[in-house]
């Protein structure tokens, strides 16, 4: 029987690697570092930089590019022989011939592969006396800055944009000495993943435009956190200096974001410095006036005095952490209120069972799916990294994908089989051949977007989709193909906590137009605040002076996600924690502490004094909060569907959920970079959609 591994000896160390690996991977398995520029684990092999040269015994006696050489059983590799060292030095000398000596003014300095490897293999002087080549810089839009003279033609950026981002816009034009990497016809990159080009470019050719000349990597404090600007839960690293967040980079997490980060999460951070609420405000005689914490609390207490719990309501915003939502819920319970809501968009959610509102296939699970139906969602805008996974799977297998909803350019082929519920009904009746495709697929899945749920017939759509999932084999003891794609980072956590109307409680719609007398907004800005009754007393607790604060009677300044320790549950139901990177500005405080302080002020202190006690309470409310970072896969063991009558679906077509990817929350709306992206892309995204 043929073995499916090969035994390779690297510098005397024997390793066993799967057949089909390349020599570079074998060297890594043996713990030998091989310098490289063009090779990247997640991209196709180009083999054009020649930095990864090694010596292979019995192969023709010359240095071999290890990234492009397949392993064979019994192969003997040397990564540090005199021939290898001389060859790499030669390659390095050629690379440096046309590379400018501008490290002191280059933003890549300190984290540049070329710099690092030049230390290992570079000469201390240049033998090249001719003129260096100079290349005109390209304009790739507001996010990626180019200094193309530094480009070493590794083509990583070309492969990333073509393969992973799915927007083939970058290329190498002309050739030889004249070769240039760019878009040829000048245009801003139309990808929501363009920031990753900055990370994969091994040199300083592609750097971050907003971060240009801001800091050196060694000056930065690095804090692990979680992105909250969509519901993917991308693992990020927050780089800060002093009290300022200077940049955000992705952290590796194969199950969630691999090593990528979407542009909104990366570039919205300049919004953390603008429109910030840094002190309390109280409205007196129609005017908001700066005030102290005690005054603000006193104003709220005066309003609450003697008020019946049924006249009080609370709404949790899309960026809220689980701790603060629980504290708010507990406070409301203490005040006798059951009017809680976390769905500013009015999206229907059935919290009876967790898999009615989560992405059950899991993000990594997409890579095993064999057919996909997207309903009322544009994953490219709602969750760019989930879209990238779908594309990855589609590239591997060309799995059939169908879309019910508005026209969208998703970076993979999706057959549009309808624009509203009637298409779901047709599938349910088996009237559409895609129902067949799903049934025949071994692992079919569907993604249900918020656009399909945030409508009067949301319950019917949810029930119909579950029924469809059950009918097409998506629910089995081994596989769960029913997925709700959330777009708010707080949503799944809120549903896990039951931040929903309780017995006799009102939904958000019921709280508006005078439905309650006191309305507590926890960072809630995504609804029409004009619909709040004129006599309703509004408390806005949050970080940014956005819609909610503008309507507020009392403003309580709070920390943004980079300024607190918080727990977030992503759309998969994965519980993750972000850490405090910098302290909140001015008087602003962590949300749960504000609520805890207020509860003490009104004489019914919440039963937790520190975050650990609060987290213990979280676990008590829902044990899922004990499983940090882990996502046990739950097959669909309980096939019982959500409440709702599939026959009540209405005829209206689904509408796009996100009008502008770049501005969806108070932080990105405060960000000048996102405003610039909107200016550049908002019209362009419409064109690109065709």
């Amino acid at each position: 029987m043929a073995k499916n591994t090969a035994k390779v000896t690297v510098d005397g160390i024997e390793v066993e690697v799967p057949n089909g690996s390349n020599v570079l991977q074998a060297c890594e398995a043996a713990g030998k570092e091989v310098p490289r520029f063009c090779y990247h684990e997640r991209l196709t092999v180009a083999g054009n930089c020649r930095m990864c040269l090694v010596e292979i015994e019995k192969a023709p006696p010359k240095p071999w590019a290890s990234c492009a050489y397949p392993v064979a059983d019994g192969m003997v590799v040397h990564t540090d022989s005199p021939m290898v060292r001389a060859a790499r030095r030669g390659v390095m000398e050629f690379l440096l011939i046309n590379h400018p000596l501008d490290c002191p003014i280059c933003d890549q300095g300190g984290e540049c592969d070329l710099q690092d490897q030049a230390v290992g293999y570079g000469l201390d002087h240049s033998r090249y006396a001719e003129n260096k080549r100079a290349v005109r810089d390209k304009n790739l839009g507001p996010l990626v800055k180019t200094t193309m003279t530094r480009c070493i033609h590794c083509t990583r950026c070309i492969r990333f944009s073509t393969e992973i981002a799915g927007v083939a816009e970058l290329g190498a034009t002309a050739r030889g000495e004249s070769m240039e990497v760019g878009t040829y016809v000048e245009r801003a990159l139309s990808s929501e993943l363009s920031g990753n080009l900055i990370d994969i470019c091994p040199v300083g050719a592609l750097t971050s435009r907003p971060y240009a000349f801001v800091a050196r990597p060694w000056e930065l404090k690095k804090t692990d956190s979680v992105d909250v600007l969509d519901a993917v839960g991308t693992n990020i690293r927050v780089d800060s200096r002093g009290s300022e967040v200077l940049r955000v980079l992705p952290r590796l997490n194969e199950d969630v974001n691999e090593e990528w980060l979407a542009d909104k999460g990366r570039f919205s951070i300049d919004g953390l410095k603008r429109r910030r609420l840094d002190s309390c405000w109280v409205r007196r005689a129609g005017k908001l006036q700066r005030s102290s914490w005690p005054d603000a609390f006193a104003a709220i207490e005066a309003k609450l005095m003697g008020l019946d719990g049924s006249r009080i309501g609370a709404v949790a915003g899309n960026l809220a952490d689980a701790e603060s939502m629980l504290a708010l819920k507990d406070l409301m319970t203490a005040l006798g209120s059951t009017s809680l809501d976390c769905r500013q968009d009015g999206a229907h959610a059935d919290a009876a069972q967790r898999d009615f509102y989560t992405f059950n296939t899991s993000i990594a699970g997409i890579e095993t799916a064999s057919a996909l139906l997207i309903i009322g969602s544009n994953p490219r805008h709602e969750a760019p990294l989930i879209n990238a996974r779908i594309r990855k799977r589609w590239l591997q297998t060309h799995m059939p994908i169908a879309l019910i909803g508005p026209e969208a350019n998703l970076t993979y082929d999706a057959e549009r089989i309808g624009d509203g519920p009637e298409a779901i009904a047709a599938l349910l009746r088996g009237r559409h051949r895609f129902a067949d495709t799903l049934t025949k697929a071994t692992k079919p899945m569907l993604i249900l977007g918020q656009a399909a749920l945030a409508r009067p017939d949301g319950a019917a759509v949810l029930a119909a989709c579950w029924k469809l999932a059950a009918a097409t084999g998506m629910l089995s003891p081994e596989w769960h193909g029913f997925n709700v794609l959330q777009t708010a980072a707080a949503r799944v956590g809120a549903l896990d906590l039951g931040f929903l109307p309780g017995q006799g409680g009102k939904k958000l719609a019921g709280m508006l137009r005078g439905g309650v007398d006191v309305l507590w907004l926890l960072g809630a800005d995504e609804f029409d605040t004009a619909a709040i009754g004129p006599d309703t007393f509004v408390i806005y607790q949050g970080s940014h002076g956005d819609r909610g604060a503008a309507r507020a009677d009392v403003i309580l300044p709070a920390a943004a996600y980079t300024e607190k320790n918080g727990t977030y549950v992503n759309t998969e139901g994965r519980v993750q924690r972000g850490m405090l990177a910098v302290y909140p500005p001015g008087e602003a405080r962590e949300d749960w502490k504000i609520l805890r302080a207020f509860s003490a002020y009104v004489g019914c202190p919440l039963p937790y004094d520190d975050i650990d006690a609060l987290r213990a309470r979280l676990e008590q409310v829902n044990p899922v909060f004990a499983r940090i970072d882990a996502l046990p896969r739950f097959p669909a063991s309980d096939r019982h569907g959500p409440a709702g009558d599939p026959d009540c679906m209405q005829a209206d077509a689904f509408t796009p959920w996100i009008a502008n990817y770049y501005q969806t929350d108070p932080i990105s709306r405060a960000s000048p970079t996102m405003a610039e992206c909107t200016r550049v892309h908002a019209p362009a995204t419409v064109q690109a959609a065709e």
């Binding site: 083939a168 816009e169 290329g171 190498a172 034009t173 002309a174 050739r175 878009t183 040829y184 016809v185």
Partner: protein
Amino acid sequence: MARQGAAPDSFSFDAESEARIAVIFAKYPAGQPASAMLPLLDLAQRQMGRVTGSAWVPIVAMDEIARRVGVAPIRVYEVATFYLMFNTSPVGKYHLQVCTTTPCWLRGSEEVVHACRRATGIKDWKETSADGMFTMTEVECLGACVNAPVLQVNDDFYEDMDAESTERLLAALKRGETPPPGSVKGRQTSAPEGGPATLTSLSFEPAE
């Protein structure tokens, strides 16, 4: 003056080209239309020459080709800019491609260059003459070194050139004539001047 070859706003293949396209696509395996990219670029360039008098491939033509062969436009830009035979900017009616590689240079290509400059008023490479008739491009070995120096005009090779023959050739082109291509010294392909010096008599006897 309206220069021929201003970048057009749109491009579509005309009936004559379309007939060719059918033949071209038929040459390649089904489902692999991208293989037709090079012939289509050539076809577009020829159509531009035929229709506008300037044989080049504007970006709109590359976009149309991308659509026809089913690839992203940048993939066509890459190919079109890689091959120097595709003109990515407008050229004159006659594209003078002077070979200046070593064999041609040793045999006097500089003379040819000077003669071209004198006759057309062009100062530098890649320039087009004021009357829009000529564009002069420096090219590498055209593979006809044995008849060096070589001047390629559009598709035709004029060989064994010198200053005088170059001027004569350009004057004829200006008059609208197309002198026969090949050696201007009248050599039969690459045979020696004055006729073949070997194999003059046909004999099929085995050599002694």
